[in-house]
Amino acid sequence: MIEVRLSAVKGTRPHEYLIRFLFGGSATVLAGLLAQRFGPGIGGLFLAFPAIFPATATLLEAHEKKRKQRMGCDGTVRGRMAASIDAAGAALGSIGLCTFAAVLWRQLPGHNAALVIAGAAVVWTLVSCAGWEVRKNRMFGLRRPRRTGAGG
């Protein structure tokens, strides 16, 4: 079940938001500079640069570790596992990223730009969520409780 926990926002410190902002801003500038220097071929690669992942995985690991330490455990392994699960999700999200890029590539020259960008974002969301759902069902489908047939 997908949940939204707004309380998680309070757990993130201001400097952590700043780090993400700097990562994101720098990666976007880098993509622009490379496109200017080498053309859209090399510059375009960096539109799919893993800009958020290092910061997000590091923060997630630190938060999980701290949470476990408050409970009296070491938390190192737990933190790493949380980051590993985040990375597995990112792999699924990057399949969606491929479809996002494909929609822009094929549809942008002949159609309204705003509509194509919005459509590509919708396709990213649908493909990523579908990938996540399929993976979840494959991983946990076998663990569903069986009906005992007691009621005949």
């Binding site: 998680a8 994101g24 375009g44 799919a48 958020i52 995985a57 699960i85 985040d86 822009l104 590539w105």
Partner: protein, 115 residues
């Protein structure tokens, strides 16, 4: 110069919004999807279309497709390394960055001229 400042501000803002979405969503595997959100592309494509036109932006997107394939390898490798090796998330994410770059440039060398 102004163009770079705008890119920095827009890119930073879009990446921060997606990162925040990843923070508040559970389970973690679902939140992880947002680590591969098209944040840089969303920040950049509009500016590129405005400045260079739609055809140029479509060429950008063709290369982005190759970068996204490289991202799949990178994220899968990061997940594997974090699960199997005693390496921190920052170390794994940094050490594996050449995997992303190598796969992306390799794919571009093979398919780059065909977009």
């Amino acid at each position: 110069m102004m163009d770079l400042v705008i890119r920095f501000l827009v890119g930073g803002a879009v990446v921060s919004v997606f990162a925040m979405l990843g923070d508040v969503l559970r389970p973690k595997s679902f939140a992880g999807l947002f680590s591969a959100a098209p944040s840089i592309a969303l920040a950049t494509v509009t500016l590129t279309i405005h400045k260079e036109g739609k055809v140029y932006a479509a060429h950008d997107a063709a290369s982005m497709l190759l970068g996204a394939v490289a991202f799949i390898f990178y994220a899968a490798a990061a997940s594997f390394v974090l699960r199997r090796c005693r390496m921190s998330a920052l170390a794994a994410a940094s050490v594996l960055m050449p995997v992303w770059l190598g796969v992306a440039l390799g794919l571009w060398a093979i398919f780059g001229g065909r977009g």
